[in-house]
């Protein structure tokens, strides 16, 4: 499962970022293995998507969100 498939309001744990030119950039912005990610908002037409990454808001295009592999986490709000 990747971050673009996350449902509004759901939280997950990142376990991998796929290889691309943006891999390091995404990791730098906090999308590293073990960090939490929550889907907050979706722009009109479903793209881009805003996520909560460990307490701050990061906006990504759907294409970029697809690079982030996640595991769903059933947890506290």
């Amino acid at each position: 499962m990747n971050a673009s498939e996350l449902k509004q309001g759901d939280t997950a744990v990142i376990h991998h970022v796929e290889f691309s030119d943006l891999r390091n950039k995404l990791i730098e912005m906090g999308c590293f293995e073990g960090n939490k990610i929550k889907r907050l908002y979706t722009a009109p037409l479903g793209d881009p998507i805003a996520f909560d990454i460990n307490g701050y808001i990061l906006a990504l295009r759907k294409e970029e969100a697809k690079l982030i592999e996640i595991t769903l986490k059933k947890i506290e709000s």
Partner: protein
Amino acid sequence: MNPKKVKHIVLAGNPNSGKTTLFNALTGLHQKISNLPGTTIEKKTGYFNIDNQKISITDLPGTYSIHPKGEDELISVGFLIDPKEAPIDLIVFVADAGNLSRNLLLYSQVADLGYPMVLALNMNDLAAKKGISIDIAELSKHLGVIVCPVNARNEIGLAKLKEAIIKVDSAHQSTFYDGTGISDANFFSNYRHFLQDQIQKLNELDPEQTKKNELDISTETTARYHKIDKILSSSLEQDAKKNKNFTQRIDSVLLHPIYGFLVFYFTLFVIFQLIFKVAEYPMNWIETGFGFIAETLKTNLPSGMLSSLICDGVIPGIGGVIVFLPQIIILFTLLAILEDSGYMTRVSFITDRLMRKFGLNGKSVVPLIGGMACAIPSIMASRNIENKKDRLITILVTPLMSCSARLPVYTLLLSLLFIEQKQSWVDLRGVILLGMYLLGFAAALLFAFIFKLILKQKEKSFFILELPDYRKPRLKNILFTIKAKAGDFVFNAGKIIVMVSVVLWFLASYAPGDKFKKIDHKYANYTADDKAVKIQSERLEVSYAGIIGKTIEPAIKPLGYDWKIGIALVTSFAAREVFVGTIATIYSVGNPDDVKTLSAVLASQKRVSDNTPLYSLATVLSLLIFYAFAMQCFSTLAVTYRETHSIKWPLVQFFYMSGFAWLMSFIVYQIFS
């Protein structure tokens, strides 16, 4: 005085962490700040003293890491890796306490360049609201540096920070990460060379090497983060229950797929209503004031050349521009509020999808909206668009956005369309003005799309953007912005306008040979009331200005313009707002006896050929269109040259915009006449 040399400190940190706010607080200067990541796009240096020690301080554009993606990040990283002429004695690393983990990533990379560091933890008040508490002593122990909690906005904690700046010297180096496989003795210089190599290799674009680099770097980044998290687990506590999250509540409306767009349009609508409704009162006062000055001077000065130059050339020229100051102040105030509150990044977010279709990027919205104020800083603001093609297209189309210099021209022309404005809660001129801005925006999208098809592209476009927390706009900050912008408008634009007015007055007051004498001779025995007017208008026609206007008349006749408008078009190429001053000068030179307000004078102008009103609907619309699209600003061309490092792009910009303007004005005039 202490003879010690100047200590050079540098402010480094993530975008929007408050470096410039701290810079202003320490130096007492007023560099532009906002709640928009990427506001600082150049490095700036200031000076201040701590006791007797003179300190020079450099503010760098924010960067997320030592591996730059955008042009603004490259400026910072290039400087940190190799400061060349300005060796760095100390880095004050400014970190947003509300987002410490990500801020510490860059901290760790900068520390590994071997600089002595002080960590300034900024925005603790916001962090506390998020339920974050930081154990300063514990953090300081793990990082091996002095940690100073500060609040740059309210100037809290500066004394402790200054103390640390004096105390820390070159002996205070501390390694953060040593997983690079580099031997200890030369760790710092080796890490520096390693980074330099990587920047150069990335430029070479060897696909295999790039891929390996990307993997190496991302592995290193992950390792750094894991180490940071370990440190934070013992020094940072997050109480999820205390998290009030004001920002998320606002965003649930402002980023709503439907309400979000409505709020955006409504915001724009309010801006344009304010520009007309509120600005109207001070504009009337200014207009009356200048009319009064001109009249008083005219009756009191001995008549002659100098008096004519002042009353007919300089004063109407200046007055014609000062009158628009209220509108410009309102526009810049509202834009500053949008930036400082944090709303501007949300606009990027909701528009990215649309902009992408046209070869732009959500981040292009900031230059484009800024372009409604002035294209020059906006083109520079495009530096934070990482993708080269997205950035070039943004630069090329930004001047199509209707800037504040066009506002005086639009206002004057619109007043000709609505001589009698009925009172109603919606100002019709405001609605049409909004239409003019939308037209500029539509043209910008159209050409962006055309450029998207023409230009070749190697790298992939992307959109990775931090949305900062909402903050209350800082009144003081907004006042400084306005002061700077209004001052710039009055003095810089004013200088050009006065110069052009004076030159124009000369051109209009002199003619080659004895042409003026011949006219005087012709009317020697003429006694009707309109003698003076007739002489003046024939004089203008044969004057140097008249010759220039007549020379270009064939090219602009199909657009509905006569040679007088032609003179204004020519002078507008110095700067658009000169149009108003020129028109004021030309018609007041032509009719020396009345100092009526300008639009009334224009409305009474007749076409020489058939005596119909010169400023008919068709002509006014055609002029509106011409000013909306034509490239008539040398400063913008100069900044395009500077940002693209090529003469090709300003030329492309000039010809596509002006050609399009001519074509569209021609079509509009032919339809409406």
